[in-house]
Symmetry: C2
Subunit: 479 residues, 2 copies
Amino acid sequence: MKTYIKETITKEINQEVELKGWVHVFRRMGKIAFIELRDSTGIIQVVCVPAEMTPESAALLDNIRPEFVLSLKGIIQARSEKQIRAEELTGKIEILAKDIKILSEAETPPFEIENETLQAKEELRLKHRYLDLRHERMANNIKNRHQVIHFFRNHLTDNNFTEIQTPILTKSTPEGARDYIVPSRLHKGKFFALPQAPQQYKQLLMIAGFEKYFQVAPCFRDEDARSDRSPGEFYQLDIEMSFLNQDEILNKIETMMTTMVEKLFPEKIITSKPWPRIDYQEAMEKYGTDKPDLRKDKENPNELAFSWIINFPLFAENAEGPDQSGGNKEKFIGIHGKLAPSHNMFTQPQEKDLELLDKNPGKVHSYQHDLALNGFELGGGAIRIHDMKLQEKIWDLIGFTAEQKKDFAHYYEAIKYGVPPHGGVAIGIDRLLMILMGEKNLKEVTAFPLTSDGHDPMMDSPAEVSKEQLEELGIELKK
Amino acid sequence: MKTYIKETITKEINQEVELKGWVHVFRRMGKIAFIELRDSTGIIQVVCVPAEMTPESAALLDNIRPEFVLSLKGIIQARSEKQIRAEELTGKIEILAKDIKILSEAETPPFEIENETLQAKEELRLKHRYLDLRHERMANNIKNRHQVIHFFRNHLTDNNFTEIQTPILTKSTPEGARDYIVPSRLHKGKFFALPQAPQQYKQLLMIAGFEKYFQVAPCFRDEDARSDRSPGEFYQLDIEMSFLNQDEILNKIETMMTTMVEKLFPEKIITSKPWPRIDYQEAMEKYGTDKPDLRKDKENPNELAFSWIINFPLFAENAEGPDQSGGNKEKFIGIHGKLAPSHNMFTQPQEKDLELLDKNPGKVHSYQHDLALNGFELGGGAIRIHDMKLQEKIWDLIGFTAEQKKDFAHYYEAIKYGVPPHGGVAIGIDRLLMILMGEKNLKEVTAFPLTSDGHDPMMDSPAEVSKEQLEELGIELKK
């Protein structure tokens, strides 16, 4: 059985171990060779003295090159005082090789694995992502991503939340961005859409009575990429709760996030605890943005300045008009509407402003809440409407047509059968990881991202498909 | 703050509590009314005596009907000896109502929530899935689904596995079933495919050096439905490990699954521990199937008979020929091939049989392993080939064309750079839950499934999309 490299430091001096991993660095000094052997847990120095090795192993030393995969038996030795590298995990010991087997050979990689500062171009890194992920920084980003998500899952499960998987093959509804669509073979001429978010499903789960739901949900938007917005797919921590007010919801999220940071990233400093809760109006006046960067020292990579923005106006002026993405994608905006919801059309207006809905809707405040972190919008949510009459009024105010309302016939039906007051939050997982890991681009915290122009140079996707395949789906390419 | 119903049994008699939930049953007996109030944690009896209540609350009793959502203040009382229902969680107490508020009204549901034995037709249940999920059995199935998946995640994380999300927008490759495809807007005429499984990504992650990977992975196959096969999407627990042999991998999975059953379902009995490991040949001769039902008592719903089937032949006769699904979907089969891989084309032949590859390939055994449970195929996997020359030989034997090899150019490239011996398992989560919960259909353990003919009567998907949307994607409907 293999000993993992990080376990070597718990072994006795002179103990024999069997290691398996990759040749990180290979150096010869005359007859002696030094291998830095790497596995998923660390790196250790292996000293290869031919006289100490089986003859077959010694002969292999002429062939071994970086990134070969080896199985290696050897003896743990203490390093001499001068050779101790105290800053390295295994810096006090080394392995004296006895027997080596080559499990797999390797050609020279297209970029260096050993030296990550010589960073290759994005296209090359993504084409050979399986090599790019061998870099310690990238492997750590992916492992930390797992740890962060796993923390959230444990925390929420311990607090009686149920994770529920909602459909990925679902329906195109007007939710703000372009949908990816999937032609149906069994229902020709019709299409599924990939969800931009599980917004409606999570509300339906509250109607179903689950009370506390979450999901690490894959979401899909056919939008052009930015450094803080993935092309294609991204993940959000989607949370919804019944019978809690806005304050209670924000408190729960704040506790979860603060505990995560303190537990997994003890070196990070949260600027203010509790997090400031800032009126939208105040944020715009004071900072000129609804996602202010409240760090005290913007040079400190370990500072995390969370803040809640609240008391948003329910509506924004529909300055853009129906957007240009085609079809029925009008960003929650009715074709003839002058008003667009600031958040989404399910957001609950504040009770004190309800009477303004008819007279002066632009003055109505809502129970929307946005979560800002270091100048990024990390997430958002709201208390939702749970009364059909109010929902209909909002749809009318934003100018929804009868046709558009039909797209929400399921919700119109569902809201008849006993809806609990409910609300929630969605947190961008990729963006959170990017900030936590001090990266400048979401691709650095995603195992297999698309390039900025939406293709995968490794798999060579998207790709052409056969005519027969299209025929079976009842579609053809436009000439 | 709301008291959850299951918490009421920990409170003192005469304590006041505030409950929030749904009216499960409403009965009047003269002036007195009885409400069975339901929330996500249980059901409790509420006695409404007008003289004990605020006048406003008492007046509401004329309006309340089943499935109304109430906020309710009352006093915990002990039931009289005769009225104790020892088999019910809250059977020793009841609530004497003091104040009631209606949070949301409800029309009469299209089917009964109270009585689940009067089961509605599938189409109606799925159209109102948010009501169907109010049934105790359905809510429990979904909650148990979460607990089972969460157990696996904790177990694997504690054993140093990393969960890594692989892409959902990926590439169409010949993997056995029809792909769902997604037209690309930025690369017109090209398509993404939804993954049938993360097979290649998990192997690439082993090449990247992660050593221990898992994922609760959404998978997609455009196949016709069966009771034990979902149309559209399903989830698999996808696991891959480096440097372990088949025995070690099977042991790890067996430990995980056995521990899960013993911890979450102590009432279940595992027929044999350790699980039998049966030769494929023996299984076929003795049971006539490679997924035998080894239960000692097939009437006992709590019996779980796991077994591993091993020593499969590497190839099966390609009796079917290229399948009829069109395009390049030939089930891992080369167009001109007479041999098809039993499992998949990455499966490692057993060393002892390597010399038979040329002379008598039908006699070669592989390191495939299938997991059978109570007559179902619960999962499968294999040790994979990690040597390019051997991989090429297999592709030639199954008759892969140069064109088909090009579809795997990424893997042909990746396998050059140091590949660890690796292997893994994929376990059908939906099917496992179906068996654990004693259900006859996968839909009973999925929150929002499609109907058998692949539509969602609630969302009304798939649906038509606008001409503009198709135009932007460069496709049109075939006339």
